[in-house]
Symmetry: none
Subunit: 202 residues, 4 copies
DNA sequence: TATGAATGAGATTTCATTCAT
DNA sequence: CATGAATGAAATCTCATTCAT
């Protein structure tokens, strides 16, 4: 029963945050979304904080999984392919849905003052940066690679952020296009990709 | 007395949000920061919401002012100069201080579910986008200009976001450098700036 | 559980009003009277106003019930019998108890500025007037009947009011006697009851 | 200056109570009605309670004055004339105005739990009762006179109460008519006034 | 395992009063 | 004499959590 309930409640948490925001996402509202009583949350997660932490973990796991899946499915081992997969993973369907996006941003803000969330968020940030950096280093000097990684990471998060804030939600196709274009520019600048501007993503 | 108290309380609000986050920034804590009693907040702002709205307005005004000041001080009327000034203004000292940055992000998250904040945030977003778009259109076709504006706006916000989340705070110099580099790439790609990569900001 | 708690809290409300008056009847005091916590009031009644409205409704229902019961138990269908039953019902035990009487008067005053209470009070007033009028019309012309109804309604309310204000509380027996005497006078004046002054109420 | 301010504030108190009721008549609202600052109330009346007490005293004085004036102006020294004057005084213009009527009722309710107001109200009640009783005793036995006095007092208060509660306000003419009619009945029943039913008030 | 009744802490807001100017 | 800035107490309401069933 436990894993079912936990999953159910995590999903309900995202739905509640999507609906009214983190500040108004009371345990009762979350419980109602899940179709259970409020008391059960303390039973399975020790309390509201536990549920929020579990929810953030879930989101990070989903994101991580989306990226990993795409990278493992690559036939091309080039840096561009890997970085492209990272971009694609970050704008994966599960991530850009309303609930996930808003929950994501809510946790970002919240993480500034909650050590547990901060740690989770930090680990995730590092992973994105490290992965990007590693791939960029295969085609450019260390210093340039670090800047490229920082720039692309900022671009991804910025697109995400603006998408979450837009009432209509993130336009994933456009976001991916902009990110890939930027990637092309970064790689082009180091002469490793003459045909960059002609490459297109579906 | 009123303008003094209002300013004092707005500053205290940022300090409190910087210290413990928006969720824990109670009127009592804010009042303590300002060295006044809690009741005075309702007296001058009608309530907590009024104070929060006024605080967000203040931040937006500061940002707007920082950008405007730099653009009016330009001797060079080129698109690159204007866009550079917009970037600089966005990473202005008053904006990147801990309190302002965290308050900023807190409002971002909060604005998703509070119509008043949402409107303020939307207006600000549009202004950034419109200004960038206008300048880019002077040197590239409309469609490319729009993408460039979207990309640069995302980059600015992304750098901002990651800076706010980093425990040490935003490294303004690095952020500006990355933004300017990206700007160079955008302009270079349209052949209007051969020496782009050699231009540097102080 | 709900009906039990609601009843319990309504009774506690009357007790609190009896003790310290409506203005000082805080939710905490009411809750203490009921032996429960203050929060439960908002849970069951949505808030203090909901509780006050429910309490007034209860009082009106009790009054209405007291009158109806006596009228249905009548063997005599004469106007005098019906009107007598109305008088008796209005000075029924449940109505003249300290708590009910003071709550009653408190609501009267309060109803002048609270639309919900005003509506309840108005409906009740009309019912008393209409019932009296209808019965009086059976033995006197319409115009006289209306005046008789107005006079007797005023008399009933006046006795009630003065009873509530008297420190010792309403002397129900005396009040009933005065009301019945007045009724006799009203009927006598229309020659329908020669022995009016000799008829006595238990 | 003092008597002017006191009068001004007492009048403003009635206006505020008329407007929003005693519970919502804050010192600020009263002060605004008087066109002065809130602090002045404590200065002249020692506090809000002092102002309320002064206001109730004013109302009682007005009532008392209205009755006395009419009784002193009588040419006829008969009981009926005196009692008639008492009735007329009670439905005097200054008493039945919206502000006075609502303030009156508000104090009635309030007096049940505030000793100072209770005393004032008690003295006033006794005076009405004693005066009526005294006059009735001139034409009927003590016991009957007491009942007549009680009945008429209740009638007056009842008409007053119902008038105050009616949205359109008290219909003074009708109230006086009903009261006089009742008076006639009381006197007629003791054979002291054959032409009672034909006597009419203007 | 799950409910929902109940609590108590905490947050916002209102308001009478005080006091320096 | 009068103002209005400021306080602090009190009141209502919300909400996470607990616990008996």
């Amino acid at each position: 029963m436990e894993p079912i309930r936990r999953q159910q409640l995590i999903k309900a948490t995202m739905a509640a945050i999507d609906e009214v925001g983190l500040a108004e996402a009371t345990v009762m509202r979350i419980a109602r979304h899940a179709g259970v009583s409020a008391g059960i949350i303390s039973h399975y997660f020790g309390g509201k904080d536990g549920l929020l932490e579990a929810t953030m973990r879930q989101i990070l796991t989903d994101l991580s999984g989306a990226v990993s899946a795409r990278r493992h499915a690559l036939e091309d081992n080039s840096p561009r392919a890997h970085i492209g997969a990272i971009i694609e993973g970050n704008f994966d369907r599960t991530q850009v849905t309303g609930p996930a996006a808003k929950t994501w941003l809510a946790f970002w803000a919240s993480s500034m003052h909650k050590p547990i969330l901060q740690r989770l968020q930090y680990v995730n940030d590092r992973r994105l940066y490290t992965n990007l950096c590693h791939q960029f280093q295969r085609v450019m000097p260390r210093h340039d690679a670090r800047n490229a990684a920082r720039g692309l990471a900022a671009m991804i998060d910025g697109l995400w952020l603006r998408g979450a804030l837009t009432p209509e939600g993130l336009d994933a196709a456009e976001a991916r296009h902009l990110a890939h274009t930027y990637l092309n520019q970064l790689l082009t600048h180091h002469g490793c990709l003459e045909e960059a501007s002609t490459t297109d993503i579906h």
